[in-house]
């Protein structure tokens, strides 16, 4: 109750400021909270670059207003993130927080941001808690629900008639969720659920076990450096041509520069690929490559989309302190996503298409994922039904 009063007070104060300043074109303030240090920094950089690219293309404006983007590194430490996000909300008085990359940081910053009446838009993390019972009108995932890319892989395994599949993920929550997601649509036999320690360097022992089990396919979720190691070692062990490699977040534009030829032909589940054939997407990929000399991954695509989404929302709302209007404007998702079809479900998570993608080498020698086939059309997550929006 007390928070409500306080939030209302803050909102009223902001409203006063906003309405007085609107005439001179009140700035929109956006805080980006991303992981920019440590081994996973490359993901945060992709998201930051994607967001900034969109803002730059729109002339440094969102919805026709000047925008100030404040970038903050969460260091992948949940407690650090909480303090820094309070800095964004209270010191920098941001209207929107865009972030984070990792689900454990999302768990930590969700409450301080949404409680303060600020909107949190995730360019990557989409934990199940916030899609189901813990859904919140101030939280939007512009990416996906975490399980969905795994579900794509499971569906593909089922469609292709694989009988025995070997699962391999890191021993942490997202890894366990990945296996659960895969099994949602795959009804065949799971030969083994193999867990490796997080930040595992060497997969040789797992690969030996895997080869001995002789499954029809392997499914894995190995983000970042782990994925680089696994893919290269999988190829070196001579398994790549024998056992189909299904994955999620393992073979993508953030890891391909280090995997290179080793990854070619490996499969993944995704909601997008750089070669998705829409005019906006072509322009985006070209612009991103020109600006940053790297192929954009889904992290940058989501962040770019988030900027476009905010642009559409700010444009249609006069007063940013009118939270209800802003919320409705965001929920409408009245922008052209790089992915093509895109809309929000009632829980603030996307309803979108999902594809099977494959790593490939382009004629210019760079590597990217390319679409093989569409697996789900207008697909919503499995938790949406548990979301009971409170008023």
């Amino acid at each position: 109750m007390k928070t409500f009063v306080k939030a209302a007070g803050v909102a009223a104060a902001l409203g006063l400021m906003a309405s007085t300043a609107l005439a001179q074109g009140e700035k929109v303030r956006v805080g980006l909270m991303l992981t920019l240090s440590g081994p996973s920094a490359v993901l945060g950089q992709q998201a930051r670059d994607g967001f900034n690219l969109a803002v730059k293309e729109m002339g440094g404006k969102l919805g026709g207003r000047e925008v100030e983007v404040i970038v903050v590194d969460d260091e992948l430490k949940p407690d650090v993130a909480v303090t820094k996000v309070k800095g964004l909300v209270e010191r920098d008085k941001v209207d929107f927080v865009v972030g984070p990359i990792f689900s454990n940081v999302a768990g930590a910053i969700h409450k301080p941001v949404t409680d303060a009446g600020v909107f949190l838009l995730s360019p990557n993390a989409g934990p199940s808690v916030f899609a189901g019972k813990g859904c919140n009108p101030n939280f939007f995932a512009v990416s996906y629900q975490n399980d969905q890319n795994h579900e794509v892989a499971g569906k593909v395994a089922q469609n292709r008639g694989y009988k025995r599949v070997y699962l391999l993920t890191p021993n942490y929550q997202a890894g366990r969720d990945a296996m659960a997601g895969f099994k949602r649509h795959f009804k065949g036999e799971i030969v083994e659920e193999s867990y490796v320690p997080l930040n595992n360097l060497d997969f040789q022992s797992e690969l030996a076990k895997l080869a001995a089990a002789q499954p029809d396919a392997v499914f894995t979720f190995m983000p970042g450096g782990m994925g680089v190691n696994l893919v290269r070692q999988y190829r070196q062990a001579g398994l790549a041509d024998k056992i189909p490699f299904l994955s999620a977040f393992t073979v993508d534009e953030s890891t391909l520069p280090a995997q290179q030829d080793a990854a070619i032909g490996m499969l993944g589940g995704s909601n997008w690929a750089p070669n998705l054939d829409t005019p906006q997407n072509k322009a985006f990929v070209a612009a991103y490559e020109k600006e940053f000399n790297a192929v954009p991954g889904s992290y940058s695509m989501h962040a770019y989309d988030t900027a476009k989404l905010l642009d559409s929302a700010v444009k249609s709302v006069k007063d940013l302190s009118d939270k209800k209007a802003v919320r409705e404007a965001i929920a409408k998702a009245d922008f052209q996503s790089l992915r093509g079809d895109f809309k929000f479900g009632a829980n603030g998570f996307p309803v979108q298409d999902f594809y099977l993608v494959k790593a490939a080498k382009r004629p210019d020698g760079k590597f990217q994922t390319e679409i093989v086939e569409k697996v789900f059309d207008d697909y919503a997550d499995a938790y949406a039904k548990d979301c009971k929006p409170a008023s």
Binding site: P78, D79, V82, T83, K86, G107, P127, A174
Partner: protein, 328 residues
């Protein structure tokens, strides 16, 4: 961050006489913390309070480490485990609907003390770097245990429904209330540690650090005293964990990585060993520098790292040593 650096008028009145110098710095520190919220009210209040609360929580953890590290020469490289125990006591009980601060606090302290007693008794068999590594081992075991607790979120951690309830009411909810509660804990811990250090117990502990054989010869078994200090330090750090969980309203294994244990050692050495308030200053310096530098550049660690090296090379005795206020 000026709020801390600016000495309050009250603190300036403290005479800089040698006898009072050992009290001057701590009085100044606590006065600054007590008055900071007034200055904070001028700016982004919630953010500054939250930052300073974090500083105080880490100060408690670092001070508890200083008790064994500075006075007992027991370098624990697994001290963050107690942060984790304290935090998980809150998280696990809260997820079962037990939100009373008193129950949670008792559980946090009890579990920390018990873990310290068992692991301490085993670790004390070793000396020096072997002690460092065996404490690391216990810390790591606990860390991996926490990551495997699927029911409590595993690596992703779990969000608390709210802060702990005092007498059934949400008294700790406000930023100010919580700030002063943490300040009270910090002061209490400081006074407790001070009196422990000054007591016969503390003298034996220091004696055992200098020369264990001699202490044994004059009839004290250092083992019991060191174990006692270890348990006390673990318990106080458990309190810090309890507060950390409440501040972030979130619990995660990330609180007890070995990197965190290393940071605690760094904080204590940075502030100045064996002075207790040095740990508070170290925590403030470490966290505030991190906050300020990272605001300037993404590559702030390239500034922060060399800064630490310079402190070691040119300022013996950490920041306190630099200030010339170091006491044995």
């Amino acid at each position: 961050m000026n709020e801390i650096a600016t000495p309050s008028p009250a603190a300036l009145d403290v005479p800089r006489a040698p006898a009072l110098r050992r009290y001057g710095v701590p009085v100044l520190v606590f006065a600054a913390f007590a008055l900071a919220p007034i200055a904070a009210a001028q700016g982004a209040e919630g953010y500054i309070l939250s930052l300073l609360t974090r500083v105080m929580i880490f100060a408690i953890a670092a001070m508890s480490l200083d008790l064994i590290l500075g006075y007992g020469a027991l370098v624990s490289f697994g001290h963050a485990a107690f942060l984790g125990i304290g935090a998980y006591a809150v998280g696990i009980l809260a997820s079962h609907g037990i939100e009373s601060a008193l129950v949670q606090l008792l559980a946090a302290l009890g579990a920390s003390a018990l873990f310290a007693l068992v692991t301490g008794a085993i670790s004390m068999r070793t000396k020096g770097v072997y002690f460092i590594m065996i404490t690391l081992a216990f810390g790591q075991m606990l860390y991996f245990l926490a990551t495997s607790l699927s029911a409590y979120g595993g690596d992703d951690g779990l969000t608390l429904p709210s802060r702990s309830l005092l007498f059934g009411a949400n008294l700790l909810k406000g930023d100010h209330a919580f700030y002063y509660a943490v300040l009270g804990c910090l002061l209490g811990c400081y006074l407790l540690c001070r009196s422990v250090v000054a007591s016969r117990f503390g003298r034996v502990l220091r004696g055992a650090k200098e020369n264990a054989v001699r202490m044994q010869a004059i009839g004290f078994a250092p083992y019991r005293f060191q174990l006692g200090a270890y348990v006390l330090a673990g318990t106080l750090c458990g309190l810090a964990g309890f507060l950390l969980a409440n501040q972030t309203e979130f619990v995660s294994p990330a609180y007890m990585t070995w990197q965190r244990s290393g940071e605690l050692i760094v904080v204590v050495v940075l502030g100045g060993l064996a002075s207790l308030h040095g740990a508070i200053i170290g925590a403030a310096a470490f966290l505030l520098l991190e906050e300020v530098l990272s605001g300037y550049t993404e590559h702030w660690k390239m500034i922060f790292g060399p800064l630490l090296v310079l402190v070691v090379l040119y300022a013996r005795g950490g920041i306190l040593g630099m200030m010339g206020g170091r006491h044995g």
